[in-house]
Amino acid sequence: MEETMFIDPQRCIGCRACVAACRECATHKGYSMIYVDYLDRSETTATMPTVCMHCVEPTCALVCPADAIKVSEEGIVMSALKPRCLDCRNCVNACPFGVPKYNTEMHLQMKCDMCFDRSSEGLKPMCASVCPTGAISFGRYEEIVPLRRTKPVNAHVFGNQRVETKVYLMLPTDADTVEVDGCGVFEGHIEADAQQPKLESWIDTQVEQSDKSNEF
């Protein structure tokens, strides 16, 4: 099996070494395309890294009117091709994981390309190279999974849409899929959340502001 990414949120210590290192990949031109969010800083120090999940049938590419988003032979979903990108931001709005960003300066959609220039030369992507804990790992399924006590899952259900991804989430559950309802809330916690509306801590906002504006 070819090498891919394994995301294990349990291990994330929120250091954002991945966010800093992403900028260093030569083709990323100083822009980072990975996000680390506090889940709810007022309750916990837990954090979650988000990279492109590299969908088998990528929604971003499907909604692109200019066919600017290409998928490599290895299944890596690339950033938009500069000559084709129309600035329409369909991909930014359509991605179920909220990954692509629109770069206003370069008039271009940019997203995680699994450090294509590195991985095509046998080097690990920057984020997986530096991650201190293995919250982001890069390697072959048969090398990484036997070492872990978590379950690899690469099927995600968003309401009516089922998405299979090249990248695996490592979960401490027996579930075969990650199911998310229409409001973007993981099913297991819907009831608790409905009872107690959460106020966000300003430190969540500080990070989300820079991560989630969908624009550079």
Binding site: I13, A21, T27, L199, Q209, S213, E215, F216
Partner: protein, 740 residues
């Protein structure tokens, strides 16, 4: 003399300014001339990294996958470390303060002024009127040189180093218990331990890459017991969190020892064969039932029992600790009481079983081995021991009567500055206005000096008070060795020359000594020559480097000291057969619990504890200039539990005044359930009005002289500020493109 008269102008000229890209911008078309394998300049994990050099400029990094400690991993400070090298704030030429302003000077002007002032003060007030304050983020060669410079160059007894704020409690505890000061096990033992007991160490934020080993241990089925008053990311990931009241570690460890004895988890054979002082310790532990310990620590008794059982039953286990238990007036006692657990169960000196303090600074270990401590000579020798004095004087060629006696710790040195006994100061590699406790008192000490010279590569909050600032070098501009937290000596390699007129620190120090007329003791032409003398000076001492060479370090990916001969491979694991006291035995210490120097009362009802964030390194002089790191954590804040916040009617994000007996500061409130209701926390990396150390207590541990950064009494006052936290403004939903 040393007042800062125009702070705004100094900040405008010397920063900190934010910079966030290689010197010539982000480029994909680089032609890299050389790839220099070296190590990170920051914490004591000393991760390997490769620096990319183009045209004598450091332009990036590449993971160093082949270095066994980190295998390419880095934290965000490590990733962005190279950005400091060509930072626009770099000091490029010597500066002399005239009329309150720093003016450019030549090296000759600046050095001659330093030397004439030192000579004048020493003629008038005696040799001891000059103090030397050094650091541990230097190569070991430089730390060795600083000790020799003070004793043989300036001939003053007053020399100390910033490990006094960091490592000394662990060092003193290790020496008392084991007769040597070094972590007992290599980190490769961590994955073999069934249980890790981690006390006062927020590994996730302060030693991020150490988590590689912690998670390997977890993958092997291991468990973590975490002792911390806050639910840090490490505590959150652990299996059992003992959220104790700050400063009550002795009671907790004694309570655990009580359970280990009661339930028969002690190793009597080991105790009889390899330790002293057990009976006394056992008697003392008998009084610390889990209930007694629970009342003092506020940790439920069941959890104390559970922790003791987990640790006691495990076939292999390791105990590790860091500043959380060491930054106390009971710092050494805290360390000794955890060591008692290790000795009572005999879990030491074996694969997967052991003990270690997690050193803070990059060279926190190496910097406390070779003679820049107030009472220390190279090789962890003592300046009080006549034989040690004789040996080192013979290596240096110094008449024995010329070697000064022991000095005092840095906080005491600063007291002597206010008392007028120390009139001049030379500092290298520290930032006293951020890192020392009780900032206002530190300011008075600096302002009272007749002459202050500072060697640094950025203008720190402390060097603003200097009369002369000499531009030094970053880690990438010089070579030498450091010793990481597991006792592994590694090699820092030079990537590029210092910019402008900046010079290597060892050259600057040696030049001052030469101009003081002490040149015959300072004939070094390179770090390698300093290292060769250090090897001889450390020979036969505890920290024996004689058998280490630059080549051996490269060949073996580091050498663990002691390494007494050239054919010796080094010593990764200590205590396999004997301890380092004369009789080869380790020593138990019966430690009674004592509260911190200051405990809450009606006026100051909360316990203030200070600490770090992952994005900043120590006093922040390097990291507060790097855009990425500052964006993640732009300013300090005060963590308050929602129950406490509700009582005080404080909202999340609101700026509040935090007051202690020594000072006050205004910080935004971060209301989190991850802290104890009786405790508040402020990260300490900032200076001036943002300094957490305006509030902290300069009370010292009687043995190690470490200040009590981790517990003092404080209160919170509401100030009805409408100003939001710096990043909080963005919560109003202004998008970044609109801001731009």
């Amino acid at each position: 003399m040393s007042k800062v008269e125009n702070l705004e102008q100094i900040i405008k000229e010397f920063g900190p300014h934010l910079h966030d890209a290689p010197y010539d911008g982000w480029r994909a078309d680089r032609v890299i001339d050389k790839v220099v394998p070296t190590h990170c300049p920051y914490c004591a994990v000393q991760c390997g990294m490769n620096l990319l050099v183009e045209n004598n400029h450091v332009v990036g990094f590449e993971p160093r996958y082949d270095f066994p400690v980190n295998e390419g991993r880095l934290c965000p400070k490590g990733v962005t470390a190279y950005l400091q090298v060509h930072h626009p704030d770099r000091l490029l030429h010597p500066l002399i303060k005239r009329n309150g302003m720093f003016e450019r000077a030549t090296w000759d002007e600046a050095l001659d002024l330093v030397v004439s002032k030192f000579k004048e003060l020493q003629a008038k007030y005696g040799k001891d009127s000059i103090g030397v304050y050094s650091g541990s983020s230097l190569t070991t060669e430089k730390t060795y040189l600083m000790g020799k410079f003070a004793r043989a160059g300036l001939q003053t007894r007053y020399v100390d180093y910033n490990g006094r704020l960091c490592m000394v409690s662990a060092a003193a505890g290790n020496n008392k218990a084991f007769g040597i000061d070094r972590a007992a096990n290599p980190w490769s033992d961590i994955p073999l331990a069934e249980i890790l007991l981690i006390a006062g160490a927020n590994c996730a934020e302060t030693f991020p890459v150490l988590n590689k080993f912690l998670w390997q241990q977890r993958d092997n089925g291991g468990r973590w017991i975490i002792v911390d008053p806050r639910e840090t990311p490490t505590a959150r990931q652990g299996d059992l969190h003992l959220q104790l009241k700050p400063g009550t570690d002795v009671a907790l460890a004694n309570g655990m020892l009580h359970v280990l004895i009661e339930e028969g988890y002690t190793d009597e054979a080991f105790i009889n064969a390899r330790t002293n002082n057990w009976e006394e310790t056992k008697l003392l532990a008998a009084r610390y039932t889990p209930q007694v310990a629970s009342e003092i620590t506020d940790v439920p008794a069941e959890k104390i029992v559970q922790a003791a059982r987990l640790y006691g039953r495990a076939k292999t286990a390791m105990v590790m600790h860091a500043r959380g238990i060491e930054h106390h007036t009971n710092g050494v006692n805290n360390v000794l009481s955890y060591i008692n657990l290790v000795l009572a169960t005999g879990k030491i000196g074996k694969p997967g079983s052991g003990y270690g303090t997690i050193t803070g600074q990059g060279n926190g270990q190496g910097g406390r081995e070779h003679g820049q401590k107030a009472d220390q000579l190279p090789g962890q020798r003592s300046i009080l021991n006549p034989e040690h004095r004789k040996y080192v004087c013979q290596v240096w060629g110094l008449p024995e009567e010329e070697l000064p006696q022991a000095g005092v710790s840095v906080v005491e040195m600063f007291n002597k500055m206010r008392e007028g006994e120390i009139r001049g100061l030379l500092s290298l590699c520290n930032n006293v206005m951020v890192s020392l406790p009780d900032t206002n008192q530190v300011r008075r000490s600096l302002e009272g000096l007749d002459f202050y010279v500072c060697i640094d590569f950025f203008m720190s909050e402390g060097s603003r008070y200097a009369d002369v600032v000499l531009p030094g070098s970053t880690w990438s501009e010089d070579e030498g060795v450091t010793c990481n937290s597991e006792g592994r000596v590694v090699k820092i390699n030079k990537a590029a020359d210092p910019p402008g007129e900046a010079r290597e620190d060892w050259w600057i120090v040696q030049e001052i000594a030469r101009r003081m007329g002490r040149g015959k003791y300072f004939q070094f032409n390179s770090p390698r020559e300093i290292f060769d003398e250090l090897r001889v000076a450390s020979k036969g001492g505890n920290a024996d480097y004689y058998g280490i060479s630059y080549e051996k370090i490269e060949k073996q990916n580091g050498v663990f000291w002691p390494c007494p001969t050239e054919d010796h491979p080094g010593t990764p694991r200590l205590f396999e057969e004997r301890f380092y006291h004369a009789d080869g035995r380790a020593k138990f210490h019966a430690i009674e619990y004592n509260p911190p120097a200051e405990t809450p009362d009606e006026e100051y009802p909360l316990i203030l504890t200070s600490g770090r964030v992952v994005y900043q390194y120590l006093s922040g002089n390097q990291t507060r200039r790097i855009g990425f790191l500052v964006e993640q954590c732009p300013e300090p804040y005060v963590e308050i539990h929602p129950i406490t916040a509700m009582k005080l009617k404080v909202n999340d994000g609101e700026r509040v005044k935090v007051v202690s007996r020594r000072g006050e500061g205004v910080f935004p409130a971060l209301i989190v359930k991850t802290i104890r209701p009786d405790t508040i926390f402020i990260p300490y990396h900032w200076g001036e009005e943002l300094a957490a150390n305006q509030l902290t207590n300069p009370a010292l541990d009687p043995v190690s002289k470490i200040p009590e950064f981790k517990a003092c009494a404080a209160r919170i006052e509401k100030i009805h500020s409408r100003q939001l936290p710096i990043m909080g403004e963005k919560r109003r939903g202004i998008s970044r493109s609109e801001v731009r």
